[in-house]
């Protein structure tokens, strides 16, 4: 006679909350993973139920990247911490010219976090991953006591493969190269800011959070080795990215403010808050540096893709041993674009 099978109740997602048992590694953890994460991510790797995912690696060059997401609030216009965690890491992999393959996701969840919110985040991640054609193949869940985490923190790690002959790197910009921006800046930061109650403003603006690997694939196909590098301007905005690149490539930049697209709502919010859109985070944009002869065709290629519709050639690389990022203002005078000092907006990514 077989022993009676234990009947477990399904998780009460509607009113239930995370408690310490969900992080203990026992039955409760398994149930959480099964009913929330596997349901949302549903792929053959996860469905095997192992602690790791195994897959073949060809002779190609691989790229790996990792990022932690501590954004507050967790849900914002145009996305949430989950979709952001998928897009952000896919983008880091894609910026090397790599095709993203798989993601790993680990969660640190605060005791008391509503299950319905966790499910919402998981479903959002599953959908983002599916849309991107990238599977979340393995992960981890930990629970910490109330007050020791702010809702949930997510870390994602991504791997990808680089097509042969492609070697993008931040130190490859050369004087004369052109700088191309894929679209408007500041959308993500302003959308998130609008939800922070202490800043007191409302807007319809959505975060631009998006996976860029499709756009990147088209760009690589169009330019090949003329493309020197790509980078996505997240925390610190376009200003930080250009300054980083100037340091890495030991060069300067000369950019045109009038060529940088900024949405009216972003311009307005920045006016109200005394911010410069150049310093505000983006989560669905990239900066590319390309040889001058390939710039126009790259621009056309980008504009033909939904995520590059408002792409613009914003300037060029110049010789400058002091590595300034100079900008001609729309007004006509000159200024530099510097890193922002200090923490302007905590927990924007």
């Amino acid at each position: 006679m077989s022993s009676p099978r234990l009947r477990t109740r399904k998780l009460d997602i509607r009113t239930g909350r995370i408690d310490l048992s969900h992080g203990a590694g026992g039955r409760a953890t398994a149930q959480l993973i099964e009913e929330i994460f596997r349901e949302a991510f549903d792929n053959p790797y996860l469905n095997r139920g192992d602690d790791q995912a195994a897959f073949d690696v060809t002779g190609e060059r691989m790229v790996m990247s990792t990022d932690a997401y501590v954004i507050w609030p967790l849900f914002f216009p145009g996305g949430d911490i989950g979709s952001l965690a998928v897009h952000g890491t896919i983008n880091d992999v894609a910026m090397a010219g790599a095709r993203p393959l798989h993601l790993a996701a680990s969660y640190i969840i605060e005791e008391g976090f509503p299950l319905v919110d966790l499910q919402r985040i998981a479903l959002s991640m599953g959908a983002a991953a599916k849309d991107a054609g990238v599977a979340i193949v393995t992960g981890d869940t930990k629970v910490v006591e109330r007050g020791k985490a702010d809702g949930v923190f997510i870390t994602t790690t991504g791997i990808g493969v680089v097509p042969p002959g492609i070697e993008l790197s931040g130190d490859r910009a050369r004087p004369g190269d052109r700088v191309v921006l894929s679209g408007s800046i500041g959308d993500h930061g302003v959308a998130v800011m609008s939800k922070r109650s202490n800043l007191g403003f409302e807007t319809e603006l959505l975060s631009d959070s998006a996976a860029l690997h499709g756009l990147v694939a088209r760009m690589l196909a169009a330019t090949g080795p003329s493309l020197r590098l790509m980078r996505d301007p997240t925390r610190g905005g376009l200003a930080a990215t250009l300054n980083e690149l100037a340091q890495q490539s030991r060069c300067g930049f000369l950019i045109e403010e009038a060529q940088i697209p900024v949405r009216p709502e972003v311009a307005a919010a920045c006016e109200l808050l005394g911010l410069d859109p150049l310093n505000v985070a983006n989560e669905g944009k990239l900066v590319a540096v390309v040889a001058p002869e390939a710039a126009e065709s790259l621009l056309l290629t980008m504009r033909a893709h939904p995520l590059g519709r408002y792409a613009s050639i914003i300037g060029e690389v110049i010789e400058d041993d002091q590595r300034f990022v100079q900008m001609t203002t729309a007004f006509g005078g000159g200024r530099i674009v510097d890193w922002l000092t200090g923490e302007q907006l905590p927990r924007i990514c």
Binding site: E265, A268, L272
Partner: protein, 82 residues
């Protein structure tokens, strides 16, 4: 700190407050320091308070004065062949 830009009044609210909007972004501010505020006025807002009302006629006059000020410059640039 010196953030003060002219913003349009969308709605008057109780307790001498108003909702103002700039390019689709809204904020609630105090209008206790400015009299006779109406919807459609542009107010100068600083640290949560309206300090002055923008006069649209004077704004037009300012632009006209600026264009006038540009004339000798335009003439000079033409002479030099710029």
């Amino acid at each position: 700190m010196c953030l003060a830009i002219p913003i349009r009044v969308e709605a008057l609210l109780p307790d001498a407050m108003a909702r103002v909007t700039l390019g689709g972004v809204s904020k609630v501010v105090s209008i206790a320091l400015v009299e006779h505020v109406q919807v459609g006025d542009y107010l100068l807002i600083h640290v949560g308070y309206a300090l002055a009302r923008l006069d649209p006629e004077e704004a037009q006059r300012t632009l006209a004065l600026m264009r006038e000020a540009a004339v000798p410059g335009l003439v000079a640039m033409e002479e030099v062949g710029v």
